[in-house]
């Protein structure tokens, strides 16, 4: 089993870890870096529970190999809050009760952040289609969509840097 040293920036911090050639980025985040916020719901890119942002792109960490992380900038759920201050998305998810079991929530939050980074004023339809890769079984999506739209409004109002 050949493992290589990988250097990346995770949530703004430089990290170094050992990666197996065939190990997924998700397993590396969870098992090597102990960042267990990203979840495995399926391991095959169908549920979005492992969503992270790599060099500004929303991806499923289960569909990326750990060695690919070399030199990349990776954002996970653990980095969404800013020094303990919740991101408007996190705040609105709580306000709207947009989570029940919470397992899909990290993936949904990262996917929603990626949306609002690109499109600060999405319509309901745009939100739903963007989030189609994040399966939630508990909420029926209603409150999730409302939370994302309200967070978008918060961010527009604040004009704050992402």
């Amino acid at each position: 089993m050949s493992r290589t040293v990988v250097n990346a920036v995770v949530n703004g911090e430089p990290v170094e870890f050992l990666a197996g050639g065939g190990q997924s980025l998700l397993d590396a985040l969870r098992d090597e870096l102990r960042l267990t916020g990203s979840k495995e719901g399926c391991g095959t890119g169908d549920c979005g529970a492992c969503s992270v942002i790599v060099d500004g792109r929303l991806v499923c960490a289960c569909l990326m190999l750990a060695p690919e992380a070399e030199g990349k900038r990776i954002e996970t759920i653990e980095g969404l809050a800013d020094n303990g201050h919740l991101h408007p998305l996190q705040h609105q998810f709580l306000e709207h009760a947009a989570l029940q079991c919470g397992f899909c929530t990290p993936g949904l939050l990262m996917a929603s952040k990626a949306l609002l980074d690109r499109n600060p004023d999405p319509t309901e339809t745009e939100v739903r289609y963007w989030l189609a890769g994040n399966i939630c079984r508990c909420t029926g999506y209603d409150k999730v969509v409302r939370a994302v739209m309200d967070a978008a409004a918060d961010l527009r109002q604040e004009g704050r840097p992402k």
Binding site: G22, T44, L115
Partner: protein, 286 residues
């Protein structure tokens, strides 16, 4: 996934060398390969990641033609304004693959070379008359997209060959393309049927060229020449469309599987082809 070696060559020559080893598999976005590794269908010794090869993910224009790096992601295609304007059918087909997350990684090269009969981008590329630029131990060659898939999971790429880029020909005036697929949900399903169409109009609005390609109704994507012929010379009237549908029904040879029955696929193929034709025509007029 024990004992897999990960390679990330920095040049085409390096990649070609690496791919000549037994058990080596190429990877662009990895959205098919990693799934197959996960379920045990693919067991590579070596994964050859193309993404550090210069230009492999670039999208550029060359005298009106577009050269799309084989590893360019669906998301990148969708963000390329000029490409979207010139080839909306190709881009919308690529953008239908998977979720937003998958779009961040999935590539046209992977979609073609994975050779699923239901690959979304392939009918659109075939309809567009796209070609592939392929590098191998014996140098470079170019081939029409419709010559690449031979059977589910199998391509005409020889050992050591790697797909570098797609070339979309220069757009003629009054041409338009479109891609439609049928899935049970709104997203996240493999196409039950896919239809890619490219039509060109003459000055009076009649069709003077048409390419119609189907996905998921045969072991590979099909170029249905009779369907294109049914449109040429017509003004997309009901009679021509009926001929088109008949040609589709005759050409489609789908299987019945967990995603649809043969009967259903054949019926819907005709419907989608007709609808895609009309969208392509409207785009050609605009």
């Amino acid at each position: 996934m024990s004992g897999v070696e990960y390679l990330s060559p920095g040049s085409v020559a390096e990649a070609v060398r690496a791919l000549q080893v037994d058990g080596a598999r190429v990877m662009a976005g990895g959205t098919d390969l990693l799934v197959q590794m996960r379920i045990g269908r693919a067991k590579p010794n070596v994964v050859v990641d193309l993404k550090r090869i210069p230009g492999i993910a670039d999208i550029r224009e060359e005298d009106g033609a577009f050269i799309i790096g084989a590893a360019a992601s669906g998301a990148a295609l969708g963000e390329h304004e000029a490409l979207r304007k010139a080839w909306p059918g190709v881009v919308e087909a690529a953008n239908l693959i998977g979720s937003t997350q998958v779009q961040g990684r999935a590539s046209l090269g992977g979609n073609l070379c994975n050779a699923s009969p239901a690959a979304d981008s392939v009918p659109a590329l075939i309809a567009a008359g796209a070609t592939c630029v392929i590098a191998g131990p014996n140098g470079e060659r170019e081939a029409l997209v419709e010559t690449i898939q031979v059977a589910p999971g199998k391509t005409t790429l020889a050992k050591g060959e790697v797909l570098l880029a797609f070339r979309l020909p220069k757009r003629t005036a009054h041409a338009g393309d479109a891609y439609l697929r049928l899935i049970p949900r709104t997203e996240m399903d493999i196409a039950v049927v896919g239809a890619g169409v490219c039509v060109t109009l003459d000055a009076s609005g009649k069709c003077n060229a048409a390419r119609v390609s189907l996905g998921a109704v045969a072991p590979t994507a099909l170029l249905v020449e009779a369907a294109g012929a049914a449109l040429v010379g017509s003004s997309f009237d009901d009679a021509a469309l009926a001929k088109l549908e008949a040609a589709i029904a005759a050409a489609a040879r789908p299987i019945s599987d967990k995603r649809g029955t043969a009967e259903y696929r054949t019926k819907v193929a005709a419907v989608l082809a007709r609808r895609a034709v009309l969208i392509a025509r409207d785009r050609a007029k605009a």
